[in-house]
Amino acid sequence: MSGFTNLNSSVSYSQNSTPNGGAAPPYQNGPVQTYPSMYPPAGYYGAPPQQQSYSTIPGHAAPAPNKAPTTNNAHSANYYHNNHQQQQQQQQQNHLPQHHVAPSPYSAPLSSATPSQPYATLPSAAPPPSNAHYNQQPFQQHPPYATPGSYYGQQSYHPSPAQHPQQQQQQQQQQQHPSLVPVSACAPGAPLYPIVSYPSAPGSSQYGTLSSSQSTSTPGGLPTQILGAPLHQYSAAPPPSTTAVQPAYGAVPPSQTAPTVNGQGSTAQNTVHQHYTQSHQASLSYDSYSGVTQSSGGADTDQPPSGTPSTSVHSSPGHHQGMQYGYVANSGASSASATTSGPAEAAPSSSSSDDDEEEEDEDEEAGGDTSSSTTGSASPVPNSYDSLEGGSYPDSMPPSNDMANQAQPYGSYGYPSMQSAYQQGPASHADASPSHDLYGQSSYQQYSQPFPNLSQLSAALGGLSGVPELEVEALRPVNLLQERNLLPPRPLEAPEPNVSSDLKKVNCSPQTFRCTLSSIPQTQALLNKARLPLGLLLHPFRDLQQLPVITSNTIVRCRSCRTYINPFVTFLDQRRWKCNLCYRVNDVPDEFMYNPVTRSYGEPHKRPEVQNSTVEFIASSDYMLRPPQPAAYLFVLDVSHNAVEAGYLKYFCESLLENLTKLPGDMRTRVGFLTFDSTIHFYNLQEGLSQPQMLVVSDIDDVFIPSHDSLMVNLKESKELVKDLLTSLPEMFSQSRETHSALGPALQAAFKLMSPTGGRVTVFQTQLPTLGAGALQSREDPNQRSNAKGVQHLGPATDFYKKLALDCSGQQIGVDLFLLSSQYADLASLACISKYSAGSIFYYPSFHYIHNPAQLEKFQKDLERYLTRKIGFEAVMRIRCTKGLSIHTFHGNFFVRSTDLLSLANVNPDSAFAVQMSIEDSLADSSLACFQAALLYTSSRGKRRIRVHTLCLPVVNQLSDVYAGADVQAITCLLANMAIDRSVTSSLSDARDALVNAVVDLVSAYKSNVSNLQQSGLVVPASMRLFPLYILALLKQKALRTGASTRLDERVFAMCEFKTQPLQQLMRMVHPDLYRLDNITDQGALHLNDTVVPQPHLLHLSAERLSRDGAFLMDCGNVFYLWIGKCCNEMFIRDVLGCPNYASIPPNMSHIPELETPLSERVRALLDWLQDNRAFSSTIHVVKDDASAKATLFQHLVEDQSEVASSYRDFLQHIQQQISK
């Protein structure tokens, strides 16, 4: 069967190749097979190769199509829904050589074909809205979609032999007219598939490029910036690239010819990039072609080429060149392996082996934008060639050649091109706009010398012995009872680890990776003495503005502990490096010896992997258990009466319609919809239908899927139907009287629907589930809401959701839950579905589209971010640490599959994780402790990527050093996580006591061990001076407070947030930032671009800091409050709010008007700046100084006394009493 798939691929490939040189990339494998021996140039344009491919086709076609669902082919095939139509497609392809880029060609043919076959049989002719209740039987029988394997299952492809000749002819024609390449095709695709648009960018993507931008939203914009930078840099080696790039990038029609050319010419250098880029670009290409082709090779003996490709591929990597080729080779290999082994088995050949992860290639990450862009245009084909032949391709001059290059045949393939690629990485950094804080370019550039050998390293560490000034400051004893102004003027930064300046420069950003103790105690005994928790806070998938992406044949890892090479390893000599986690001495692979930056051997320590502590590798097939899945999104919508009342459906549909094209994904993206009340409704969206069809399953005790192929459909092909559905959905249920909710069965159906592929299930629920499996009872007693003694029912009531979540996790399905409920809905139970499948949870208490506009606005904003944010599929994360340290507890949403492996069905850029660690063996024999988090995921464009973060911290043996390095914010967050666990497993009051005891322990430990001053009062090191305040703030949070009336669901949701929010966000929620705005000045202001961002001082969260004649801004993370005092100066009110005086400020003002006054500009600049680095946009509420303010604003003033909680002074008194006991 594979054979048949191959056919397609090969055919298509050949066709494509002709016209576009560059365009071909998607068909990497294809080329190999087809033209194994051919020289690239010839193969490319030459007609003969194609013919060869064709010849093979018939042979393949012959085999039964349905055979191997599991294999890669199958996988590929399924995306190809239209296989049966292939002939037509191919023809079209001929017409539109770039078809892979352009969605249009495919869709068109398909649609025409579809109606005839599959759907004709459909029993349910009735139009969708009619809600015809169908019995199961008819559906099951569905002939066309019968294939149960559905997703991966083969489709019926009936190649008609007769057509082949025609195809060939067409191909030939195309070949003759390469220029035919339709530009237009690209253009439409551009927004969606950024890659396409920036064909030449490749270099950037390749190594490095910056990639990661948060870009989901701005695919177009970002890439340009990014690309721009790298290009310039290139100038040295491959100057040409710039030229090439731009045209390509533009995606403008005129450039069409150009890109092709580039593809050929440039490809050589960029081989790697192109490779992957291409793959994603062409939806078909990746799955169908690559997978297919190879499979065919395996399956069919007939085809000589098939065999060859794999071998050739493998051989190539060996050389240094390998790097470039390497990637290609791998891809080839992967496919090959897949063929033989089948998807189910992990890639056997993988060197990486075990652990990790099955992973993947990546694509460009951020929203697909940047990196991938790389070379999209380019020619995939050439790459494969190279790999085969080792360099046959031209390209010594890669970039510069621009179009001219075509002619050039075999340049030195290898090195030059590589260099360019690599250079980009660093260069890009340099160029990077100042805004990129984390990875300052400067640091990169300067950091030319890592640590070539041990002696140097130790020398570098020498600085440790001396006590830096920072440390002195951190250790200054602070008497909390006397000092009242503890807050720093600006929000607290993470303490800098006390390592040598060289290491500091490359160390991981504290926003990504943070340790509670930035100096690791040498032994567990010392840690116990310090009475501080040791743990890590990770935000591994956060949106980055810059990220080096490395494509390399071999990913260098330690042979025993599988650590990825990182800046903190030591090079013993030219050929050996010592792992910084397990201390094993490893060989440096040949390929790694080549330094692309300087084009010389023997400088492995200058490779990008060793220069950056956050890098992303493009993974080979070794990291895949199966072909990378397509992006798949299933929306499960509650349409019961309650949901209709709340009115969310309309806003959801609107938001999705608006963002339909921004959903991360590629041509393979699949979507599906499922609604439920007391029954479950499926929607047949198979393209070719005139209207969506609704299929109702009323048997909720034994849920079945009525049709396998048409419920999850390709977004591209069925876009119109999806739009139809979204437009009509809100009205369809507007008259619903059904009050029951069968959430459990709906989730089971979703699980069944998604399990062939994996993907993301988004559940909207508005009430307690009452029917079928997973039905829940109300457990909340409203009278107990303010019970100070204890809170019951914080844990789940049933294990149904947990089990289902684990099943989902096993099938790579992540479930995200949106709970929009005005009543108790038992979030404690429902949340399990997301907690263990690595989903996220959103909760909108009292949601109502009319009565609660604030929630509605938040819902809309969250939804927009949610739909467009980056996503990684089938991910796993492994956290490794230096020998002697071990992880003993994990916090966050995931399933811990083995001792250090987290299984993340989906990974999103907004969730963070925490782990607690213990010191099992003394760390005395090393001066540094390192932690590495490796996240392996499939990008939304079907690439496997590994993102690696490495953090390096000093090991200390003095208690004072431990305190000096304590990170009070990280400690607070970790303690919060521990307290949440404690309150679920034990009781809330236990958890609260434990938090108070943490403060007591710290103060007494510090008093008895470190401070020699016999002061009375509460003395803590300056680094921890905010600790009691933060703990008090924690105790007043919804999650942990007692006394005040708190609804159970809100409490549980707050607990979920503690577990998943990144540190910065969490700290703002726990201890909001308060600024005074009416007297802001430009003193100390930031100047960003052309705007001046004032930096007002932080104020303590106490009502005494508020004054009636002022205006204050409180930043609570997801909401801003602007408090206007009664006597606030009218100029401020007029200039900023646009109201003449205090009395005229409307009561529910929730935006700041854009006025042209300097004050307004300053305030808005500040707000924008604060907003800038958070994922979900915050709403702003203008709060007037009246009684209503107390409810909202004053509850955040944590230093003040409330009805049920003590003030900060009282809290300190309480601590002191505890200590003196």
């Binding site: 844990g795 049933t798 003993h888 994990f890 811990v896 599959r897």
Partner: protein, 139 residues
Amino acid sequence: MEAAVFILSLVDCCALIFLSVYFIITLSDLECDYINARACCSKLNKWVIPEMIGQCLSTMLMLISMHWFIFLLNLPVAAWDIYRYVKVPMGNMGVFDPTEIHNRGQLKSHMKEAMIKLGYHLLCFFIYLYSMILALIND
């Protein structure tokens, strides 16, 4: 009669010893990553109730046959088994929960518990063996 009681206890004890060994092996497999948490927990949870019954059985036997010392020796273990089973939170999938087992050192404490039980059952085994022989001789 007495001999029959001890023979029965002996058999029961052997079964419990095997069960303890099985627990230890499975847990150490999990520790070494040979199996995943879910498989491990579903395997172990199956045997929690049989273990509890086995333990209660020998306790009851001793009570009925009025061997007070051995009864008192058995009682705390039986009580612990029952307590542990009853105390499982509603949302958990059994005594061994795959989502919790890697947290808070649970794996280690389960391991420790299985080890202690193994030692205890071995001790019981020899006591039963001795008592049985004694009973047979007395007969």
